[in-house]
Amino acid sequence: MRRLYRLTVTLLRDWTRNREAVFFALLFPLILLVIFSLVFAGGSTEFDVAVQNNDIDTEGEPTALSAELVDAVEEVDPLAVHHVDANVSLEREDIEEVTGYKRVLVVPAGFGQRVRNESGRVRATVIRGTLARFNVSEAQQAEAIAGLDALGPENGTAGPARLRLLTVPDDEGSGAVGSILDSVVATFNNRAIGIEEPTATVTTEERGDAALGAVDYFLPAFIVAMVLINGVMTVPSAVADFKRDGTLKRLAATPLRKREWILANVIQQSILAVAIALVMVAVAWLLFGVTAVPGPLALCLLVLGAVAFTALGMVVGGTIRDPGSAVSLGGAIALPLLFISGVFWELDLMPPTLQRVAEFSPVTHFHRSLRELMILDSTTGVAATAAMLAALAVVFLAGAVAVTDWQEFD
């Protein structure tokens, strides 16, 4: 125990006196933090969408219903609505070249009339259904149905008005814009058939601290990225350096145990990872006013993650002798894990197969749980993640002991 403590202090002292190591260990995560924060802290994301309203009257003015629809689209914050003249032909494939936009919502001619007809048909259908459902006498029903039938062709048989959203093949935002327009049209439909008060609504409730911004959202991701890169890329390089320059051989000539060497490195690097994470939080708080500060549970999870991934780094460092190769192998492990685990983007944006693969990545769960704790102030799934990280730490520590040579140094 005394040897472990002595060596841990020595490793920490040696690292803190290495200005280059300190500079770069802090610099990389801070650069990541600042760049992402500046990119995403600028406010809401907007999608450009052009509208071509072909439902115009003889004087060239939009009909009342088509104008109402376009107004409803313009009211949606994430959409920046532009207008395309009705006489512009969009039947060619290159709509971006013709209009300058990747998405064009086309309101067909006769839109207003179709909506009215369909509205009447739907209302009549509803009345018929209502008469059948409630206790109305057969005589009264017959009288009402005769009245509805008298409305004749206006009951509508041509079907609903069809809006078209034209997009280009490489448009990543078309899905989001389509979903938003679906929502706008659903509301418009309800109004058209006289439903002003919806029968069911969904409201979004914000949990956790108020006024969370983009930096709050990304801070857990930065911390996870730093812990992983420090553990799996920096640690193997440092260990290989000690091996190459003969320091490890000198230590192995003392009664120091191999497991004490491994544990001392894991403890030292875990302390550094937590310290760097706290520096990142402090910088994010000072520069960007983040409120998603890690609490005691998040710190515990962070320590577990740091221990697990540093132990993985010791496995890599124990396997490889050359510092350059150690960094390469560490990178080959850390970077795919980062990119596949939804750290820098939502898992939903990835193909379903990769999403399933991501569920097997410990980084996915580490990031998810840290985000739950820091942003949502929730402990959902945190216990399972903590147990997984603890188990991984034990497995990787055992692996490091197995692959680290304590003899045959050259």
Partner: protein
Amino acid sequence: MTSDRSAVVQTRDLRKEYGSTVAVDDVSLEIYDGEIFALLGPNGAGKTTAVELIQGLREPTSGEVTLFGQDLQNHLRALKDRLGVVPQSFHTFERLTVRENVALIGDLHSASSDVCEVLAELDLTEWAGERFGSLSGGYKRRTGIAMALVSEPDILFLDEPTAGLDPAARRATWEHIEGLPELGTTVVLTTHYMDEVEYLADRVALLVDGHVEAVDSVPALVDAYAGEVTVVVHLAGGEPEAELESTLESRAQAVHRREGALVGVFDDRQRAQEAYSALQDIGTHSIDLVSPGMEDVFLELAGASLAPGGELR
């Protein structure tokens, strides 16, 4: 000379193979308590591998190492605690000071010795606060010796302790090593320097291609393998040449002329010394008494001499 002492190191048929290469080939040695024992050989002879097998830093392919009567592999940690090691390519935490590095090794050995005292013994007090990485080669090596001595080891291993040092630093290092047996430390050093062996070693093992060719004290090896002592009289003209020649002939095994000189060959150092004195009495000033040394022993046993860099030539 040393057989009455107890053996602190014993190796039996020690062998180390790396694939098809045999680095150490059936080495059997005994190193006695309180002696300075040298492993002499050219680069690549297997000296470092042999001592690292004894230190437990390598595992033998076959054979046994016993330290203080205990099997090394079965008591590795306990025996390491009794060893001090200065590896050939010695390095330590370069951003730690000399004092911190020495104290670290002391703590890892659970030693109770005073770090300041050890530093003072090696004239390192002035450099105690300097970072290891900023030291010159000589001071780095001296720090290595301090790190090895701080645990008060029973055996100190010095692998090429003066390689790369300037003459003054070499001499200072020799003086430190020379005094260690008096403090109860057995010293095992590997070197390719003949003068180092002649100056320091009580006994020497000559290692060539992983084999031990001979083990004994330097004088015994010289007597056994180095050939004759010669007395060379340089003739500048005007000397009583006939008298000189007869004086040599009366004592030497053989006398012959060589490029303006008379060379007397002796199989006994005492007789050569007597001839040397007699020649001086005649009034000749230019006389050399040439004694063979380890270089001659090496030449005889290895069939080649050693270059200053440690290569065979």
